[in-house]
Every structure is written in C-alpha cells, then in structure tokens.
C-alpha cells in the first residue's frame, strides 16, 4: 500500500510538463549516442552527466533515466539494422535481428525489440519497487562457487546453441577463451600474454572485439563477395509492423527474458550480457521453430532484448537497497546520486523516499517515452538500409572506429580493431561462428576468477564447488544440459538437430 502511494506520488512529480521535456531531451540524446558501437549506456551516461549538473534534482534525475534507457535502446537498433552491436548486451540481438533486417523484416525486429524492452522494463521496474529487499537477500547468498556453477551452466547451454558443427563452435569458443587470458591476472597481478605491450595489460575490450568482428568483419565479407546480387538487402518486405504471428511468437520470449534478466541483473556479479546469452539459449531450446534460428527467428530478438532491459532494472536492486554498484552503468548512476550528496544504501528508501520513487517513476516514464518515440520512427530507421552500400558501409566504419577512438584513442586499440576485423572476415569465410568468441571473452575470466576465489576461500578443498545448494543445483542442471543432447543424438535425432542449426553469416 505504502509502496503504491509512493509510486503514484513519484509519477505525479514526473508528469510535470517541464520534466517531460527533460525526459524527451534525455531519451533523444541517449539514443543518439547509444547507437555508436563501442559506446554503451555506461559511457553515454558518463559523458552526458555534466549536461545534467545545472538542473534541479527531479529534472536531472529524469534526464539521467532518459539517457540511460535511450542508450540501451540505441544499441539494439544498430545491432539489428547494421549488424554492429553497440555494447556487449546487444551482441545476441544482432544474431537473429540482422538476419530479419536483411529479409525485409527489420521493422518487426525493431518493434519486437522495442516492445519487449518496454514490457521487460515495465515489469522489472515494478518488481524493483515491490520485491527489491527480498531479491537482494537472495542475490547475496551467491558466493564465488555459485557464480562458478552459473558460468558452467552458461558455457554448456550457450555453446550448444551456436553454430552448425561442434568442432567449429568449440574452436570459436576456445579462441575467445584464449583472448580472454590476455592482460593482468586479477587475482595475483601477473601479466599474461601481454608480451610487454602496456596497452594489453588491461586485456582485450569486449566492445572492441565485438565491433571488429561484427562491423569490420561484416564489411570485409560483403565487399569481397564477387557475386553481390544474391545478397541484396531488402529494406522492407511486407508490413513494417508486427503481424499477428509475430505477436504470438514474441510475447512468451518477452516474459521469459524478463524472468531470466531481472534476477541475473540483481546479482552482484551477474550482468546483462550473461542474461542475453541464457535467454537466447533458452529460446532456441523452447522454440517451435528451432530451424529458423540463425536465419532470423523473432524469438531470438524478443527474448534477449527483454532480458537485457530487465537485467538493467535488476542492477538497480543492489544499487538502491545496498548502495552496491555492480556494473559500470550502476557505478555511473551512483555518481548521479552523489551529485545531490546522496549515498544510495539501506537507508535511502527510508531517508529519501521521494527521490527513490521519483527515480523509479522516471524510469517508467522514460521507458514509455522511448516506445512512443521509437515505434513511429521504425519506418524511418529501416530506410537506413536503402542508403547505397558504399555510403552505408563507409558510415558504419566511421562510427565503428569513432566508438573505439572515443573510448580509448590508442594505436594498439585501433590495431586490434583491424586484426580482429580480418579475423572476423576469415571466420565468416570458413564458416566459424562469431558469437562464441565473444562469449568466451566475457565468460572465461569470470569463470576463472570465481573458481579461484572459491578455492581460495575453501583453502583448496574441491568439494566446496558442490558445497552449497545453489552450486549443486546449477552444476546438476549443467550436467543434464550436457548429457540430454548426447542421448538425443545417440537416438538419431542429432542429424536433424545439426541440419536445423545455422550458418553464422
């Protein structure tokens, strides 16, 4: 009851016309910067934070929420239309979304992403308002061994969801794991595989790898095709809007994505990218049309897009209730609070309810505004694809490099963009899937660190890994996920499965 009153009060504050204009500016700026590959919501908010300094707390907060959600949204637009993920959480979106866009179904892909983001954002924000204290208690139960078990589950489900050949998928995954070794080992400070190059000490940036392999690799691959006629991109085929069938196939993934994304976002060592991987794997398993995966299955856009937005709202749970910034984005949001001399934490809900509820209401409004703004714009966005190819790809590469230069203007970073771009091209050419490389780069270090932390706490006792109910359950699930497909394959279904699976490009 109290919660509900506060929420209404917050909404009333946020409905002020001046505040709405701030929200509009926020979502517009956020979307504009968010479309840049390599510049995700965290950096967007960091860069635009000074813009909000001069405003009053309410205006500043809403603009902030607008920039944040706008930045999240912008990333999926470029993923879908240009196969250029703006950040690690929209990499999975590019897999199916871009296939859809190429078949003239960019409109429905953008629509299911927008509506899925909206619904997930709405549901997760409401969950945040009502169950945050409970969720955070559960999240704290997760120790290193439980995270390690979660990573094992992610590896098992995700690696089986990509690609046509087990060998090629595993090779891609291991290349990603190898790349993940580069840099300082976080637990001991030892430099690994950095060959004395100081810029390599921080490891390989996920966004650099993703932008290189997707955007640069794609440009090379398309340009080098002698026979380009068969690869003509169709901007719009059929309706720009979602059909009844699209709706029917989207609503369940939206809800499942929300259910996967919210708790993973709330975990201190979770993350939106992991949520999208798990959501994609789940949709592929549950879909009635698994044969469409890799060729533009709408579920593969709807689920992960809902998951990454739900996860973003999930990160607010530890931030608001514990003052725990668990992601770069949350850390920046903390800086936003500190503008007003506020320290988020267990006391914030008690001492500053107006502000907390103001923020939650702002998120709801920013979410709604993005939907209203973007749905009519979808028709315009898909026209991007009608830009003649030379100009389109030239523009893509300008923005791809701009993101890298803006985040870290070092020749080493740009050289990596070039090298991984060529690698992405070669992998496309010979049929190796791209996504597992990025998955390996993201999950590898997490799995290693959590394993070593768990063993360090237990002083080397391996039994600790199955010593908590959570870790034991997750590892058991991983074992099932690993064994069941083997049994199915042994019964002869394997051939069907591998034929249904997809080619990456």
């Amino acid at each position: 009851m109290n919660t509900f009153d506060f929420l209404l009060q917050g909404l009333a504050v946020a409905m002020d016309p001046m505040i709405l204009i701030y929200a509009l500016i926020g979502v517009t700026l956020g979307t504009a910067v968010g479309v840049l590959p390599g510049i995700g919501p965290a950096l967007t908010v960091a860069l635009l934070l000074p813009v909000t300094y001069g405003l009053d707390p309410a205006g500043s907060l809403i603009m902030f929420a607008g920039i944040y959600y706008g930045g999240m949204y912008g990333g999926s637009t470029t993923s879908i239309l240009l196969n250029t993920p703006g950040e690690s959480a929209s990499i999975v979106t590019a897999l199916e979304g871009n296939k859809m866009a190429r078949m003239g179904r960019g409109g429905p892909a953008l629509a299911t992403a927008a509506i899925g983001s909206f619904i997930a954002g709405l549901a997760a924000t409401i969950l945040l308002a009502f169950v945050a204290p409970t969720v955070v208690k559960l999240a704290l139960v997760f120790g290193p061994r439980d995270y390690f078990a979660l990573m094992v589950l992610a590896f098992v489900t995700v690696s089986s969801a990509f690609g046509e050949s087990a060998r090629k998928g595993l090779i891609s995954l291991f290349v990603g794991l190898a790349l993940a070794l580069v840099g300082i080992d976080q637990l001991t400070g030892q430099a690994r595989l950095s060959f004395g190059v100081p810029q390599l000490l921080d490891g390989i940036e996920v966004t650099t790898l993703a932008v290189a392999m997707f955007a640069v690799g794609e440009a090379l691959f398309v340009a080098a095709r002698r026979d380009t006629a068969d690869d003509e991109v169709i901007a719009v085929k059929g309706s720009v809007w979602m059909t009844a069938n699209d709706w029917a196939r989207s609503w369940k993934p939206w809800l499942r994505g929300t259910i996967i994304g919210f708790p993973i976002g709330a975990m201190p060592a979770g993350g939106a990218d992991i949520a999208t991987f798990l959501s994609y794997a789940a949709e592929k398993r549950m879909s009635k049309h698994p044969e469409e995966f890799g060729h533009g299955a709408i579920e593969g856009v709807a689920g992960p897009e809902a998951a990454n937005n739900a996860s973003a709202a999930g990160t607010l749970v530890p931030l608001l209730t514990l003052g725990l910034p668990t992601t770069a984005t949350a850390a920046i949001m903390l800086a936003g609070f500190q503008q007003f001399g506020l320290q988020p934490g267990p006391l914030l809900f008690a001492t500053n309810p107006q502000l907390v509820w103001g923020l939650i209401a702002s998120l709801l409004i920013a979410n709604f505004m993005l939907l209203v703004l973007n749905l009519p714009l979808i028709g315009l966005w898909v026209r991007l694809l009608t830009i003649p190819r030379p100009w389109l790809y030239a523009g893509i590469l300008v923005f791809a490099t701009l993101g890298t230069i803006g985040a870290n203007p070092s020749p080493v970073e740009l050289s990596m963009l070039l090298i991984f771009g060529v690698m992405g091209y070669a992998m496309r050419l010979y049929g190796y899937p791209i996504a597992p490389v990025v998955v390996g780069l993201i999950l590898g270090p997490m799995a290693e660190q959590q394993l070593r932390r768990a063993l360090s706490i237990s002083q080397g006792d391996l039994w600790t890994l199955v010593g908590s109910p959570v870790s034991a359950t997750l590892l058991a699930l991983s074992a099932i996920a690993l064994i069941v497909p083997l049994i199915l394959r042994a019964r002869g279904k394997g051939k069907v499965l591998s034929q249904l699976a997809s080619d990456e490009d």
């Binding site: 910067v33 860069l47 635009l48 046509e164 087990a166 060998r167 090629k168 595993l170 090779i171 291991f174 794991l177 190898a178 070794l181 080992d185 637990l187 001991t188 030892q190 690994r192 595989l193 640069v216 090379l220 340009a223 080098a224 095709r225 002698r226 190819r389 030379p390 790809y393 030239a394 523009g395 590469l397 300008v398 923005f399 490099t401 701009l402 230069i405 803006g406 203007p409 020749p411 740009l414 050289s415 963009l417 070039l418 060529v422 091209y425 050419l429 010979y430 290693e448 394993l451 070593r452 932390r453 063993l455 360090s456 706490i457 002083q459 080397g460 394959r489 394997g494 051939k495 591998s498």
Partner: protein
C-alpha cells in the same frame, strides 16, 4: 560431432587446406599460451590454482581441437567455397591502416575521412575526388558533435584546430 562439414560434400579426397591451416593456427596459439604460462610464477596460494593453470587448460583444449581439425581435414576432403575478391579487402584494410597511421598527426577528420573514402571505394565508388572531401566533411561534422558537445576526447589535427579557431573568432 558428425564427421563431415556441409561444404565438404561431393568434393575430392584431397585434404581441405583451410581446415589444415586452422589446425596449424590453433597449435600455434596453444604453444604460445603454454610458453607464456611456463614463465609465470606458480602462485596458486590457498586456491591451489594459480595464474598459469587456467592458461594451460586452455592450451590443452586448443591442442585437442587442433588434432581434431587435422583429422577432419583429411576425412572430409577439399571443400568448395565462394570466390572472393581481394581488391575490396585491400581497400578496407588499407583505409583502416591509413586511419591508424594518420590519426595522431592529421587528426580525426582527415584520417577518418580517408577511411570513409577507402570503404566507399571497396564497394565500388572509386571516384576519390568526390568521396575524400565528402568523407572528411562527414567526419568533421561527427567530430564537432562528439568532441564539442559531449567532450569526447578525439585526436585533433590542423583541420580541427582551424575550425575551433573559426568558432572562437566568431565570438567577441
């Protein structure tokens, strides 16, 4: 884990070159990782798993995949692939290299403008007299938006300096 790649069907029984090369590259990476790990102190501490252990596991995995690829290359035989043009590749790689080389001296706009023109050329717009100026103008507008408005630190060169001065001169 079925034994044949889809491209391999209907080909002759010569080993597939691309898969052989992949096997070689994987073996190479495995060796590099193994040697790097050998140099690290075995500082496992209480965990018993040190900084060199996980790299070793990954190197072993890569070595295994290398063997698998080797077997696969001989089993599946030569695969047919789409013909590729090297010209466009050289244009784009050259454009990226030019941007990399010129970025710190010529500034963002000129370096990125050249990348723009090179990419357009790769896709068939070879009229550099048109694409280079268009690219530089486009990059300059992007520069002004992101460096001016958002304070993103992008490398400035003579062209950016000129434009900054113009803006400053216009003010009292």
């Amino acid at each position: 884990m079925s034994g044949s790649t889809p491209q391999g069907s209907g080909a002759t029984r010569r080993p597939d070159g691309a898969t052989l090369v992949a096997a070689l590259i994987l073996a190479g990476i495995a060796v590099v990782i193994w040697r790097d790990a050998a140099r690290l102190p075995q500082a496992g501490g209480y965990a018993g798993v040190g900084p060199a252990d996980v790299p070793r596991w990954i190197a072993l995995g890569l070595a295994g995949l290398s063997l698998w690829s080797l077997v696969e290359a001989f089993r599946s035989g030569k695969a047919e692939r789409e013909a590729q043009d090297t010209g466009p590749i050289l244009w784009i790689v050259g454009g990226l290299a030019a941007q990399l080389a010129l970025l710190s001296t010529a500034g963002f706009s000129i370096a990125t403008g050249l990348l723009f023109a090179a990419t357009a050329a790769a896709f068939g717009k070879r009229n550099l007299a048109l694409t280079v100026p268009v690219g530089i103008t486009f990059a300059l507008v992007v520069y002004l938006l992101f460096a001016g408005l958002l304070k993103l630190s992008l490398p400035a060169g003579p062209l950016e300096g000129l434009v900054w001065d113009l803006f400053r001169g216009a003010k009292p």
